[in-house]
């Protein structure tokens, strides 16, 4: 009996050892599930070929702000790939990442960009052409909660930027955004949550979404059901990536974590981004995929808002402008 128990324990112990040589945890924002399914497979096989070691990458997805707070609260992420720089800055402010993280990788540590577009039902029954149509009465707009979602904050800033350019003053922009949020029946916690609400639950007339989410919806649910409408003006979103220094030092995974993020800047990485409707940075691949992306005039967060720290403080912090206009 004792020998049986010992044998059983040995088997369990051996079986519980990880199948891969290395494991990484990638804490990402909401819409990137499919992107990283692709990317992780490609990276794992490239890494295996180069170093002979197998690597398993575990994923976590959720609203960018909420994910950042999870990492701060102790989630052992080797790398974070979030929707905006401020969320990674928040993690760096707690000492988990070095403050100059954004300079450690090319292009402000953002290997791809994206923007904000509209997804509407096929035939565009409510005739949505631009941001102005979203504040019309009787139009139900779906967008996530800026308190938890990164995409939600890009959406908000894109709307604000448009209104500020059109009407010229911050006050008019505030009124515009307030009117917009009056038309929002439900705020989901992440960009993917909003997509599900719009697409699967059939709520709302227009979804303000990441460009990559909108294309994904067309791919998954069919072009016969939805169409993409590009606004006249939108914001250039630069979702950044970073290695979480504290965690990789503890786990000894710095080399593989850095290789993982650097893979984004290789031709294969850029190709994967473009294939999944994320705008690649590499000029060659960008030219190749030029026609797969909407032609939109873009402004950056620095242009209009003076950077993320300023924007977060003014608009999304406790008691900020979003709290003032949305009381629910």
């Amino acid at each position: 009996m004792r020998r049986l128990l010992l044998a059983f324990a040995a088997v369990v112990w051996a079986g519980s050892a990880s199948a891969a040589d290395l494991t990484l945890l990638n804490v990402s924002y909401d819409p990137t599930r499919e992107l990283y399914a692709d990317f992780n497979k490609a990276f794992a096989s490239a890494y295996q070929k180069e170093t002979g070691k197998s690597v398993e990458i575990k994923q976590s997805h959720g609203g960018s702000g909420a994910q950042a707070r999870s990492v701060i609260d102790g989630l052992q992420a080797d790398v974070v790939t979030l929707a905006l720089a401020y969320d990674i800055d928040a993690i760096a402010a707690r000492g988990l990442i070095t403050p100059d993280w954004q300079k450690r990788m090319p292009l402000n540590a953002a290997p791809y960009t994206s923007t904000i577009v509209f997804l509407v039902r096929k035939g565009n029954p409510k005739g949505i052409k631009d941001w102005d149509d979203l504040i019309k009465p009787g139009v139900a707009v779906i967008t996530p909660n800026p308190k938890t979602s990164g995409g939600a904050r890009w959406n908000y800033l894109a709307a604000w930027g448009y209104a500020q350019k059109k009407f010229g003053s911050a006050d008019r922009a505030k009124k515009f955004v307030a009117d917009l949020y009056q038309n929002v029946p439900v705020l989901d916690t992440g960009a993917r949550g909003s997509t599900v609400t719009f697409v699967e639950r059939g709520v709302g007339d227009v979804l303000i979404a990441w460009e990559n989410e909108a294309f994904l919806a067309l791919r998954e649910f069919g072009k016969e059901k939805f169409e993409i409408v590009s606004p006249s003006l939108s914001i250039l979103a630069e979702p950044p990536v970073a290695v979480v220094d504290k965690v990789v030092e503890k786990k000894g995974t710095r080399a593989v974590a850095e290789a993982y993020l650097n893979y984004w800047y290789s031709k294969e990485g850029q190709e994967i981004a473009a294939r999944n409707s994320y705008r690649p940075r590499d000029p060659e691949i960008a030219r190749e995929y030029e026609n797969s992306f909407a032609k939109v005039e873009l402004f950056t967060i620095d242009d209009v808002f003076g950077g993320w720290t300023q924007a977060q403080k003014e608009h999304f912090a406790e008691g900020g402008i979003f709290d003032q206009i949305y009381k629910n």
Binding site: G63, N145, K147, T148, P185, V186, T189, R201, V203, N328
Partner: protein, 278 residues
Amino acid sequence: MAAIAVRRSVLPGFGLTMGLTLTWLSVIVLIPLAGLFLKTSELSLDQFWVIVSSRRTLNALKISFGLAFLAALVNLVMGTIVVWALVRYRFPGRRLLDAIVDVPFALPTAVAGVALSALFAEKGWLGAPLAALGLKVAFTPIGIFVAMVFIGIPFVVRTVQPVLIELDPEIEEAATSLGANRWQTVTRVILPSLVPALLTGLALAFARAVGEYGSVIFIAGNLPNVSEIAPLLIVIRLSEFRYADATAIAVVMLVAAFLIIFVVNRLQRWAQTRLPMH
């Protein structure tokens, strides 16, 4: 303490058992609940009131408690009929039916939720004919009601079943032989003996429906003020890192649930003293 000392059994182990019981219940039940109250006490009374009386919170509580009560009532009626059929009659497939009653219990709530929302969606097997009649079930409060009825099914059945089994058919036969018609037998002889068990079943089905999260959120629309249940509002407040708000709503739900269970308990005691057959 004196009463316990007087009734102390001759069997050894009282101290240890009592100690383990108290520790276990404290760790699992009392301390988390105390933590809830402690977190809420960080708010001033004004803040607490503002959170709890906000339109969205009140609507969420109304939806949760109101629909749970309706669902429990439906389960009371249907459950009684089901348990009667299962206990009093013999028919092929009776054991299978008996086992099926436990399915809502055994099924993981997320699985139940996905199944129900697929079934009642506009293109679903039941949703399509209902939509043709103009009734939208999925993603509306009706969907919440359906999910609550689903998960409450076993409670009334399983609570009443042992009591009904114990109820001797001879009593019914005696009533009939004394001249009672079927209606009188049911209302004066059978139901009164079942009332305590029925009330317990009602309370359990209600309590389960009020707290249900997994099966409901898939089929509910989750639109604030329209089809948002209180547990979902608590989760949303937590995801916004407004912990005090979340615990405030939780405390309200807890207190309300306690009150309702207490009332039902009193009703049961009353039923046991006043109604015949006991």
